[in-house]
């Protein structure tokens, strides 16, 4: 028993088979790498932005005659914040870190430099923020306190991040469109060079739908090996990149690496299945149009 699809497989695109495997591996790798980068960048940036936007920095300035905020005041503030640890997270910025970020590490404590007391709290509850602000003013004995919400300062960064996401998405669309056109043109060239054979099938009574369905399935089968290989390749590549660069993102918890790897893998699999199904329908529609146009000879 011979099968219609087997004949099409052996007749059409026989010479292009290796080319199809190669090109589908390269281009689908490019497409899936965009998916992996977009997803990982999206995940990273949204996690980072979410965490940062909850932060508020408090800067308590010294009185004129003070080089440092007195220890009893900072202790009282720390104790107050610790008492609220169920509702908020807080970080006290170490004075050495302030010096380091200002490039003043070599300056001795005996110099005239006065360092403020800086701490950050993590909460998006405005009521708690106001309460902390009011309490800290009173604990700090009416020293000057500046409060900066990170959310206001993140506007520029988030618009920059969105621009990067848009660029990745646009590149993805461009490559996917080029790939679809490339496949379409290779198929069109193969169909035209084998048209005598296809016309014979049409005269025998093969419908445009049957022809387009069988040819599309045959083409997809030629793309599948390259697509699977490219998915595995991109998954391994993204894991490697995360291993190399992701370790510094210490604000994620330890399970993050495993979580992001598993989700990347699932997303890549889902994408490749969806991509192949969409490509199958796209090819079917194109081929159906091709055969319907040639159903009758027209002069």
């Amino acid at each position: 028993m011979i099968y219609f699809q087997e004949i099409i497989k052996k007749t059409l695109l026989k010479q292009e088979e290796k080319f199809f495997h190669g090109i589908s591996f390269i281009i689908i790798s490019l497409i899936t790498i965009h998916i992996a980068v977009y997803f990982n960048f999206y995940k990273f940036s949204s996690n980072w932005l979410e965490l940062e936007s909850k932060k508020t920095t408090f800067i308590i300035s010294n009185s004129i005659d003070e080089k440092k905020i007195p220890l009893d005041v900072t202790e009282r503030i720390t104790n107050y914040l610790s008492g609220k640890s169920e509702k908020i997270e807080f970080y006290v910025i170490d004075s050495n870190l302030i010096k380091e970020s200002l490039g003043l590490t070599n300056l001795s404590d005996m110099s005239g430099l006065s360092l403020p007391f800086i701490f950050q709290i993590v909460t998006d509850d405005k009521f708690i923020l106001d309460e902390v602000y009011a309490s800290v003013i009173s604990i700090s004995e009416n020293r000057l306190i500046e409060k900066y919400s990170h959310q206001d300062q993140l506007f520029e960064i988030s618009s920059f991040v969105n621009r990067i996401k848009l660029i990745i998405f646009m590149m993805f669309l461009v490559i996917i469109t080029l790939f679809a056109f490339l496949v379409m043109n290779i198929v069109k060239a193969a169909l035209i060079s084998n048209y005598k054979f296809l016309e014979m099938l049409q005269i025998m009574g093969a419908s445009s739908f049957d022809l387009s369905k069988n040819i599309s399935q045959s083409i997809i089968k030629k793309i599948v090996p390259g697509a699977i290989l490219s998915t595995i390749f991109v998954y391994l590549l993204s894991t490697l990149l995360m291993k190399l660069f992701g370790v510094n993102f210490d604000f994620f918890d330890s399970s993050f690496f495993i979580e992001i790897n598993v989700t990347t893998f699932i997303i890549l699999i889902l994408f490749i299945v969806t991509f192949l199904i969409v490509l199958l329908f796209f090819l079917m529609s194109y081929l159906f149009y091709f055969f319907e146009k040639r159903f009758f000879d027209k002069f």
């Binding site: 219609f4 005598k196 054979f197 099938l201 009574g205 002069f299």
Partner: protein
């Protein structure tokens, strides 16, 4: 007699050829021959019968129903019931004779047993010895016989042939014409173009194109 084809004042205009004002009726069991010198449009007219072409003017009726661009489903059904033999017809070179014929039976959804029908046809056309040969190893006359066998596998009601004697020797040509006539007597409608007058008989319906 059952009317199979009715051509009502049909004209076909192609880029190079023109066939005008044809009125004819072909009935069940007719042996219809289209005659004419080269480039008179015999093959063009034949395309109309195997429904690959629609008339530029006039109406074509098949089994009493008008064939239009919209009746594609009906056209596909009718194409499956036809056996078409074309000049330089396409056979798949790396498949065997058997597989090439089997392909036609699959597309046309052969109702009876393929093996039984294949045996009958192989016997008629002397294909028994080459049944398992690949097409690329066959001579032109053997290929022509395979094309004929492929057209007949589905026991078609209508057989359309464009110069079926092409590449065949005198003995084989006579045999093919005898076979087609027998099928016509059994009720199949035969429409052929032919350049060989000795095989055309007075019982045949003839259309001469100028």
């Amino acid at each position: 007699m059952n009317e199979i084809f009715f051509l009502d004042n049909i004209s076909i205009f192609s880029k190079k050829k023109k066939i005008e004002n044809i009125n004819l009726k072909i009935c069940r069991g007719d042996f219809f021959v289209i005659k004419g010198s080269n480039s008179t449009g015999k093959s063009l007219l034949l395309k109309l019968f195997y429904l690959k072409l629609l008339p530029s003017k006039g109406s074509l009726f098949l089994n009493g129903k008008k064939i239009t661009e919209e009746s594609k489903k009906k056209i596909i059904e009718n194409r499956k019931k036809m056996g078409v033999i074309l000049q330089n017809d396409y056979l798949i070179p790396f498949f065997t004779v058997y597989q090439n014929i089997e392909l036609a039976s699959q597309i046309q959804n052969l109702k009876t047993s393929f093996a039984q029908r294949m045996n009958e046809i192989s016997e008629w056309l002397d294909l028994d010895d080459i049944k398992n040969e690949k097409i690329m190893n066959l001579s032109n006359s053997q290929k022509q016989k395979v094309v004929i066998a492929r057209a007949l596998i589905n026991n078609p009601n209508i057989i359309i042939a464009d110069q079926p004697e092409t590449f065949l020797d005198e003995v084989s040509t006579r045999k093919i014409f005898y076979l087609l006539e027998s099928l016509s007597k059994l009720g199949s409608t035969i429409i052929i173009t032919s350049s060989k007058d000795p095989h055309i008989k007075s019982s045949h319906k003839i259309l001469e194109l100028n």
